[in-house]
Amino acid sequence: MANHRVWGVNMSERRDVIVGIGGAAGDGVASAGNNLALMCARQGIGIFAYNSYQSVIRGGHSWFRIRASNTQPQSVGDRVDLLIALNQDCLDRHLQEVHPGGVVLYNSSKLKLPHAPPKDVQVCALPLEELVPEAGKLTIMQNTVALGAVIQLMGLPLEGIEKLIEQAYGKKGEEVVRSNRAAARAGFDRAKESLVPIDSPLTPGGKPLAWIIGNQALAYGGALAGVKLYVAYPMSPATGVLHWMAKHARRLGICARQVEDEIAVINMAIGASHVGVRAMCATSGGGFALMSEAIGFAAMIETPVVVINVQRAGPSTGVPTKTEQGDLNQAVGASQGDLQRIIVAPTSIEDACHTIPEVFNLAERHQLPVIVLSDLLISEGGTTVPPETLDFEPVIDRGELITEAPADIDPAASYLRYRVTESGVSPRAIPGVPGHLFVAASDEQDEDGVLISDVYTDPVIRKKMVDKRARKMVGVLRDIPAPALEGPTDAQVTLLGWGSTRGVIAEAAKRLTDEGITANHLQIKFLVPFHAAEVSAIIESAQKTISVENSESGQFARHLRAETGLSVDGHIRKYDGEPFEPKHIVEGVKAVLRGDEVVRVLSTEPGWRSEHPPVATGPTGTRTH
């Protein structure tokens, strides 16, 4: 097969395989994708997966991409090698995207190729009626046939899918298991017999990996941290956390409850936390907006609580199933007054799992709310991880918490809940402990908890209490790591990002460097408080700084400017709902180097268009403003 240079990747040097599975909601896209990912994980193949789907239960277009590699991929990549089309729409949209050396797989009993495949792309027709006559009207079996074929092409053993079929259909009886096994084998054999073997770079048989979705990582991280109350109101794309919690609640001794709205959610979490329970909640931007007032309440009564905002494309209802980093302004501006809170954005799915226990300790040590900014890319993306990295006992540090009193304590003893200290942190008693009675209030209060807002207003006390709380942020900054530059310090280009985009930016930086444009990378995880001195030093010594973010207005660049007083030289912004692919950043950097200040990226592959032009567009995935 001839070598083709496409998106800067030489096919003969391909190190990974990218599978795209597309169909309508209800066609079993996600389940096929998950099964394929799980089969790879069990063979020790590294996976990064992302499902682009619509907010509909039936119909629409779901597009699940799985990138498989012998090493762990950090993004979904930017090609399609193997296309599994589960409906005609998918075939029409994505056929022309399949890269040279790739294969298109489809049920030829039902679907027709709309045009000839791209050059050097093989067609694997899988006529369900012929391959599995007993399937009859059970079109869903086409998924099993296609999975059988695709694992053959990827070089995975057939036993993997047989085991999965037994686990999935065992309860439905032997007949169902038998027919699905036959379907998988038929697909496997057809791929083997009818195609020129493709040279899969994958080497199965390695140590099995765990396959985890971002929301599971957040929930599991909560369980590890000792969350005992999880309350939520369903909202995409955060609902996965609630599902995980509800499923495991009883077994883990966690109370997981769905309640009437997000205002109730956060106030319940605060109520539970106030009596000494580690409580967590998750929502998306709209629900987070409803929680704003209570975040200030938690800050005022100095009660720790962890709130996750899984960002989706806004404003308002926006695009509920599409990703964006558009809630940074909202998180920074949440609640009235000057309040103490931590804002943190995990930088990968695996990091999400470790971040939750970490921030519970910060929340309790410093007695304040923590806002965790995830997004659809992290929360609904999937990744493989070595299982041992999930099997850890996090440090649990509850700070200065008074959970019991000496037996001989005087029940009339006086206790200053908000005692002024140098650190600003006052020992926190929980209701139920004798000898520590106090009233906490959303009003300003003195050290003993007595309100000063209504009748005892006193400027001296007011300032003293504001200063006490403000001092806590000094301690927080000391407790969080400063971000570090990755890559050569003398690079031509410094890419700056925050949160979920770490993997894709790192990949783009490497690709740029390989192409002769040396690039390094600074990813910000803690947005508030901010290591301004360290970040300023990095920006000031950089040759050309470029921010990369999923936001139209450049919220992150603005935050950087607010914290450091420094502007970046160029901006790469994407807000079409789909996550960055490495090529978008690579092309964006080139555009900035050509003189563009703001590059507004659009996913231009034909599959993303509502109409599908017959010819593929050129290699540039970007356009400038």
Partner: protein, 295 residues
Amino acid sequence: MTTAHLDLKPKDYRSEVPPDWCPGCGDFGVLNALQRACADLSIAPHEILVVSGIGCSSNLPGFFRSYGLHSLHGRSLPVATGARLGNHDLHVIAVGGDGDGYGIGMGHLFHSMRRNINLTYIVMDNEIYGLTTGQISPTSLTGMKTKTTPEGNLEPPANPLLVALAAGCHFVARGYSGDQKQLVEIIKQGLQHPGFALIDVFSPCVTFNRVNTYDFFKERVKRLEDMGHDSADHMAAIEQARIWGDVIPIGIFYQSPDPRPAIDDQDPALQGEPLVHRELGLSAEQRRQLIHEMM
């Protein structure tokens, strides 16, 4: 419920902070009744958490000696619910006004009653917004003239008792701040009810409500127990709750003889020791099982 018998007096529930309510405010009567009820039931102050919202009456936790949490406007019930879920050994009492509970907080009230979380909710109902200096409240009478209704209130008052009876609340009562004897008894019954208890209390605002005054109520309120009402009869409770005019019934409208289990008694995760006393984190075996699910 507390078992130890302590010799407690109402003054043991008196904080050092003097109430800042206007002289003659109905809320004094509610505070006194609550102190008496807790003393009679021998509930130690450190085992009580009084949660309030915002409003004149929501200042009550500051004047009541126990643990207190003066939360956000309209949010006393979710905060109290979280506290109760977190530690079901605590006696959680929510208090506030009619604006707090029946206006901004009405959504939470309905769902708290439906959910049947085990706590007692006392609403000091003065049919006016006092702290914001006199605007109509959800229970203001039609025609009432206030700063925001110079031509008279066009909206009919909410009937919280009917809402409670419809929402599945199994303890529905109304007291009057001017009838201490009955109010203490109602609160004691409410505190012992094994589920959500709603206690609406007529608590006159002497500064901003010139309609629903002590005289207004004195002429009209009539104890349900003197009217031969059977508080175990749900339909009779609905009939009584509809009455408003020359006679306004007060007392326990409905107290189920067979109360449905509270959510805290039903949720399997809440059985056994309170959440707050549980060990944090996961055991090696729990981690092994959870990771196995991902493989």
